[in-house]
């Protein structure tokens, strides 16, 4: 599926929201950013690269050229855009179970939003409003966002260690080295191929050919 590239999945969801309620939603987003701890759950879900909500006011969809016909829309819209590691189910379910009230708060003004629990109406709502990704490029197909964070920790620590300890006598050097390993003990995960999410014919064929690392995925 073109929503998937390497370990990453790209999700776009566009949902209508009555124009006279859109500003309330905008206020909720502002408040969420100001109040500490509100986004704790979201930030603790380490499979998420990022999640972004954008309100598109009525009639403000991009109009790139005068030849592009103007659409007549009754509603404002909310764009939800996120990249994450894992499958669609894993992601949507993690959201539902970890932060149901947060989801309900963010989507509550949207037309026919069913609430996040029970699960099936919520699944149907997301599925109905999801726009598949037609082209998705991933520069690091074997890296999950946790891997990138770990790699950055290791790189910085190693550069610092080199600067501070490379000229020390062996005993001191060993002590510093052990400290370095201690500080990085959660950053040594192996980086390898993605677990299989898609059973599409091409994905299965590539897997048999050993071409797991193919990163470029687009509709053909």
């Amino acid at each position: 599926m073109s929503n998937i590239a390497g370990k990453a999945y790209a999700m776009n969801v566009i949902t209508p929201i009555p124009w006279y309620k859109a500003w309330l939603n905008w206020l909720i987003f502002k408040a969420a950013l100001l109040v500490p701890n509100v986004l704790n759950g979201l930030l603790t879900l380490s499979l998420i690269h990022y999640a972004r909500w954008v309100i598109i006011p009525k009639g403000k969809f991009p109009h790139l050229d005068s030849s592009q016909p103007k659409e007549e829309l009754k509603y404002s819209y909310m764009l939800f855009f996120s990249n994450f590691n894992g499958s669609w189910d894993q992601y949507v379910d993690s959201f539902t179970f970890a932060i149901p009230s947060g989801l309900d708060l963010f989507w509550k003004m949207n037309v026919r939003y069913p609430k996040s629990v029970p699960l099936t109406p919520f699944h149907n709502y997301i599925q109905h409003n999801q726009i598949d990704t037609s082209h998705y490029y991933n520069a690091y197909p074997m890296a999950a966002s946790n891997d990138v964070k770990s790699a950055k920790n290791v790189k910085k620590a190693l550069i610092d260690f080199n600067a501070a300890s490379s000229n020390k006598d062996p005993d001191e050097f060993l002590k510093d080295y052990n400290n370095l390993l201690n500080n990085l003990q959660h950053d040594f995960g192996e980086m390898s191929h993605t677990p299989i999410v898609s059973l599409a014919a091409l994905a299965v064929k590539m897997r048999h050919a050993g071409a797991h690392e193919k990163s470029h995925n687009h509709l053909r």
């Binding site: 380490s46 499979l47 590691n85 099936t120 201690n182 003990q185 192996e190 677990p195």
Partner: protein, 504 residues
């Protein structure tokens, strides 16, 4: 407890782990349906002896139990209408061998190396016989054989690897035997072939037990830090699940799926020689000694199952052992399961990669951010599995992998993909949820010579000590066969037998 289950309708193996009721011997039979009419007659006959989940008193407990389940092709062969068949989930329809890329069944675990019986796509019916003695099992087996002969519509399939009655190796046995292991004094034990104490900490769900103490460490964690039973629908169809809805893996009509569940049957060979050699070699470079290293692999000490999070070193283990020896049985059970990883988020005591922490992270996926999620187990409660099964074979030569010995591993869950397959794929063979990249479970991971496993055993942060690296982990467990089964209620068995399943 808010839920009263119809225990007379639910098959007994769903609610009870027979092994803990003194049923130490088991025999698993696999059959093919050759004729729909006669096959249904056979199902009717077996159903008359199927064991329900009714509670037993000392006097009412039987000496042998019988249970029955079907593959998707089995239900087709028994001529369920398409309108019902179409309601089964993709994983069950495909069957286990076709899910190999999800399960990581590659290399020596690839279905092409499985026992002969799994090389054909004709396993339709599973029958399990659990007995207090091998004589009890044999007697019921003879009875089943008579029903096969009498109806003529089904065939008992051969093709299991193991030893025949005379101890000779065979690859064409007509059934799979399993048994608990006995210690050196011939006493029953709860060990498996690597020496670990097994079968602790199975989940507890609503309606299963009246004993609140048994829920501790085995149910789900509330925000207040209490343990309560998981929703019944995580394990039995037709009941509300943790998402506050009825499992959508249920086929129609309701009478076909109510009180049913799905079973994963897996024959797992244990490479005992490789394990012992690996453990010996690795303990030479591990500061805490061999038994602590073995405990770090699993999260529990091998001798009595003491949880590492409460017994991180020899001294604390000795204290724990003393208390354990003096305690009554309910207190012992509590000592084995009553813990979380909240005081050990870093994994210095029980490694983040330890087997029991992977398959049930309890509240630890909040990473110490209290209140981050709706409940501490928000990412765990929908991934729990009931484990059933027994060891098979004997590891006669502790230095060799050869022979036939391992575990008949059976999982019960309402949604194979969401529960069993997720745990196997994401938490055994992968570790992004634990922020450990592609590191795999030491004991069950599909390590290979080309891609040998590696894990890091954490130490106290800020102690200046380096963590311990375990490298070159070989494949310790290999899949030798199995499939996905549907375990209907007793009502549904009767309806299947009567040929009256129909959603209209």
């Amino acid at each position: 407890m808010t839920q009263n289950l119809d225990l007379t309708d639910i098959q007994g193996n769903i609610v009870k782990a027979y092994g803990s009721f003194g049923f130490f011997k088991a025999r698993y039979l696999f059959l093919r349906v050759d004729n729909g009419d006669k096959g249904r007659d056979f199902v009717a006959r077996i159903t008359s002896k199927v064991t329900s989940a009714e509670r037993w008193s000392k006097s009412s407990a039987p000496s042998v139990t019988t249970n029955m389940a079907f593959t998707y092709s089995g239900l087709e062969a028994l001529e369920l209408p398409t309108a019902s068949l179409i309601g089964f989930p993709e994983d069950f329809v495909m069957g286990m061998s076709k899910r190999k890329v999800i399960l990581g069944d590659d290399g020596p675990s690839d279905p092409e190396h499985w026992d002969k019986i799994w090389q054909e796509e004709s396993v339709h019916i599973w029958i399990s016989i659990n007995g207090k003695s091998i004589e009890d099992v044999e007697e019921r087996y003879q009875w089943v054989s008579k029903q096969i002969d009498a109806t003529g519509g089904v065939s008992l399939l051969k093709g299991h690897r193991g030893e025949d009655a005379f101890g000779n190796p065979s690859d064409d046995l007509p059934y799979q035997d399993a048994s608990i292991l006995y210690d050196e004094n011939g006493m029953p034990s709860s060990k498996e072939h690597f020496g670990y104490t097994d079968g602790i900490g199975d989940p507890v769900f609503e309606g299963q037990t009246n004993n609140e103490k048994r829920v501790i460490g085995r149910g789900k964690l509330t925000s207040e830090g209490e343990w309560v039973p998981l929703a019944t629908g995580e394990f039995i169809l037709g009941h509300l699940d943790e998402a506050m809805e009825y499992p959508h893996t249920a086929p129609r009509p309701d009478l076909l799926s109510n009180n049913a569940t799905y079973m994963v049957y897996r024959k797992l060979h244990q490479n005992v020689g490789t394990f012992n050699k690996f453990l010996d070699e690795q303990s030479k470079v591990f500061p805490g000694g061999k038994e602590l290293l073995a405990a770090k692999f699993s999260g529990r000490w091998r001798d009595n199952g003491a949880p590492l999070v409460h017994t991180p070193d020899e001294a604390s283990k000795a204290d724990w052992d003393k208390k354990f020896a003096a305690a009554d049985v309910p207190t012992q059970k509590k000592m084995l399961t009553d813990f979380t990883y909240n005081e050990d988020i870093e994994g210095a005591k029980c490694p983040v990669s330890a087997h029991i922490r992977r398959i049930n992270p309890r509240g630890s996926l909040e990473y110490g951010v209290k209140g981050a999620f709706n409940t501490p187990g928000a990412l765990v409660d929908r991934r729990r599995i009931l484990r059933r099964g027994l060891p098979y074979g004997k590891a006669k030569d502790q230095t060799s992998d050869d022979g036939n010995h391992g575990i008949i591993f059976m999982v019960l869950n309402a949604d194979i993909n969401r529960q069993f397959e997720f745990v196997q794929q994401q938490w055994i063979n992968y570790a992004n949820d634990f922020k450990l990249g592609n590191d795999k479970d030491v004991l069950l991971g599909n390590h290979s010579a080309k891609c040998p496993g590696k894990v890091v055993f954490e130490v106290e942060p800020g102690s200046g000590k380096p963590p311990h690296f375990v490298k070159n982990i070989p494949r310790l467990v290999e899949t030798r066969g199995g499939d996905y089964f549907f375990i209907p209620s007793i009502t549904a068995l009767k309806m299947i037998a009567g040929g009256i399943i129909d959603p209209t």
